[in-house]
């Protein structure tokens, strides 16, 4: 599960370089994000632009990461593709997370 990070001041952008976060890969995703959570930065933007598919296991993993990061780090989302956006919307989790169209717009937002 490849997740590439870039720091911008106190903000860390974590870009998932896999096309699926699903039942087969959810645990590896969580492990990768826990490792990033032990690093610097108090605001993490999860860049999902490369993720074409996410199921309920993937969703649960993203929620688990947000919970594990709190309270010292926040987790926001960026670059949701159509399938990922649909899953977040169906489960009303799009109301729980701060979601940005893209990483640049996330970095511009306060």
């Amino acid at each position: 599960m490849q997740v590439v990070t870039h720091s911008h001041g106190d903000t860390v952008v974590a870009s998932v370089k896999e096309s699926r976060i699903d039942a087969a890969s959810a645990v590896k995703f969580k492990d990768a994000m826990q490792a990033i959570g032990r690093g610097p930065g108090d605001r993490v933007i999860l860049d999902l632009a490369s993720v074409e598919f996410l199921d309920s296991s993937g969703l649960g993993a993203v929620v688990a990461v947000m919970k594990a990061y709190a309270p010292s780090k926040t987790l926001e989302l960026a670059g949701l593709g159509p399938v990922v956006e649909k899953v977040f919307r169906l489960t009303r989790m799009d109301k729980v997370f701060r979601i940005h169209d893209s990483v640049p717009s996330a970095l511009e937002a306060v």
């Binding site: 699926r20 087969a24 199921d55 309920s56 296991s57 947000m66 919970k67 489960t91 729980v96």
Partner: protein, 145 residues
Amino acid sequence: MTDFSETYVFQSTYAEVTQTLATLMEELRRVGVDAADMATVEIVLAEALNNVVEHAYAERPGNCVRLQCTLCEAGLCVEILDTGAAMPGGQVPSGKAPCVDADTDELPEGGFGWNMIHALTEHLTYRRSGTRNTTGFVIPLDGLR
């Protein structure tokens, strides 16, 4: 849209679910199903098939899952057959949506799957006969209307 009816038989692992769905998606693309409908199909089938792996077979490998998909007037007609444990209470879970209006530390990390299946399917049925579970539903496809 051309006729489409396929049966897939595969082992009870998450990896084989993913592989089978990739094959199905490619075949649906070839018969003209649009991207939005394909997204709906993949979301529903990933949940239903992963449930078979996780709950019917308790993640034990070496068991069989049979998936049958047919394009019909109403949409994609699906039948899933397995020989795992019966659904609790002999019926499909109601799929009550987990509550998301909670504090961060109380947010649900699971229980989303059946709610999504109910939201995206019609004519959801479940039958237990001997050692077999048969789960059926129709996924309405907007592109067919």
